[in-house]
Amino acid sequence: MSGRTPNQKAWFLVLPVVVLVAFNAVIPLMTVVNYSVQETFGDNQFFFEGVTWFEQILHSSRFHDALQRQLLFTAIVLAIEIPLGVAIALAMPRRGPWASTCLVLMAMPLLIPWNVVGAMWNIFALPDIGLLGYSLNALGFDYNFTRQPLSAWSTLIAMDVWHWTSLVVLLAYAGLSAIPNAFYEAAKIDGASAWAVFCYIQLPKMKRVLMIAVLLRFMDSFMIYTEAIVLTGGGPGNATSLLSIDLVKIALGQFDLGPAAAMSLIYFLIILLLSWIFYAVMTRDEPQ
């Protein structure tokens, strides 16, 4: 964003976007804020409760457990998907028919509706009729994702890796395609090793797309709901009740609007804060 001319009329160009997004964001957000400070007894009777719900949730072990599970899930998923995605992008052919074939096939999981992804992995992993579950049991592993927490977790992570690694591949691949050939030729003349080429040419050039990849994956894995609820339903027990699953259980199951709204706000603020930290750290050395 360098060399931009000051022009206050630019606001008119941004206005339609601001109006529409504000309509969708501000009104629902204010509704949530409104609920979060009140108690309801049905009949549309509301009583002001102040910050009671916030205190309750921040001290409840249920929320702490869900938050820990969520952080663990996001950390594992990021640790697998980002390096794997970069590795695949590096190994892919740069041009020619194979490059587009790879891209088309890899992008497929990204365009499957999320409940279908969940249902698909459900029938894929069922111990009696699923390919994965049946094979694992035939190989002598005791695997049943509806009963064992560890199996449920590994299935959930495998599903997310299957679902989203391609996004990292697409972005990393795009970043790599943007590197001019001259860079590689210069490295060849200098006799640089493949590792040096990666560290000093490819990685710095991919920095920006990788930032987008990490941010998107962080936000989306933190918000995972549909796939997980269809696959495991948060079970067995509460083993895979990630934050949004727990939230919907409270909001719809028990119809506790106040606590659910307070939890929503805390949840949103956590994502916002962590994303902002990521963003700030990753753009730290970019000249402004």
């Binding site: 957000l29 587009s100 365009l111 970043g175 920006r208 918000m223």
Partner: protein
Amino acid sequence: MRRIRWLVPALYIVFVLLPIYWLLNMSFKTTNEILGSFTLWPGHFTLENYRTILTDPTWYTGYLNSLAYVLMNTVISVTLALPAAYAFSRYRFMGDKHLFFWLLSNRMAPPAVFALPFFQLYSAIGLFDTHIAVALAHCLFNIPLAVWILEGFMSGVPKELDETAFVDGYPFWRFFIRIFIPTIAAGIGVAAFFCFMFSWVELLLAKTLTAVVAKPIAAVMTRTASTSGYELGLLAAAGALTIIPGAFVIYFVRNYIAKGFALGRV
């Protein structure tokens, strides 16, 4: 090392295709065969599941509803994002950076948080159970993304292009539509791809905002799963059909994805 390099993407593609194969395999079986035995391919190959879906209006209108709101959303998101992205990429104005981060922050709002207020908001303005309601609701996360992507592409276009056109006496909108938009066609392709993708796969809001008339395919699937027992074959066929629109879109934008990103600074 160089010889076996192709193995990495090849193995990954096998991993990607396995669950999809299993879904297709199930969709060509009868429910009895699915539940009765474990077979790697259909023993009694049947197209009955697909015939049911393509002839029963409750099924196929689900697909049409989904496609309708996804297309509306893609058009609205990209059209509105274009001038906004131009403003962010070319001009400095009051609060521009804060506005940009605020827009992006909406991409971080979990749909689970907004489901109930969205239901109330769209009921209040009388748009509940319409396609446009879902299309507008999906703008919450698609517009910020479209602005973000397009801004990257536009910043890759030299400013001299704009200046030359203005010196030649082009009015702003004519320059924008006739010259600028064709220049960043690849960026529009990529932005439209992502809008289509995120609107097509999102279900929580789509399900919350619809009841009968605009019901998306995913909701039809959930209802079938709970009312007519557990018809796995039918569900697998319905799931397999949801892959097709996406596969089409990828096929058309595949070259934009490969080359397109390279143009922008994304």
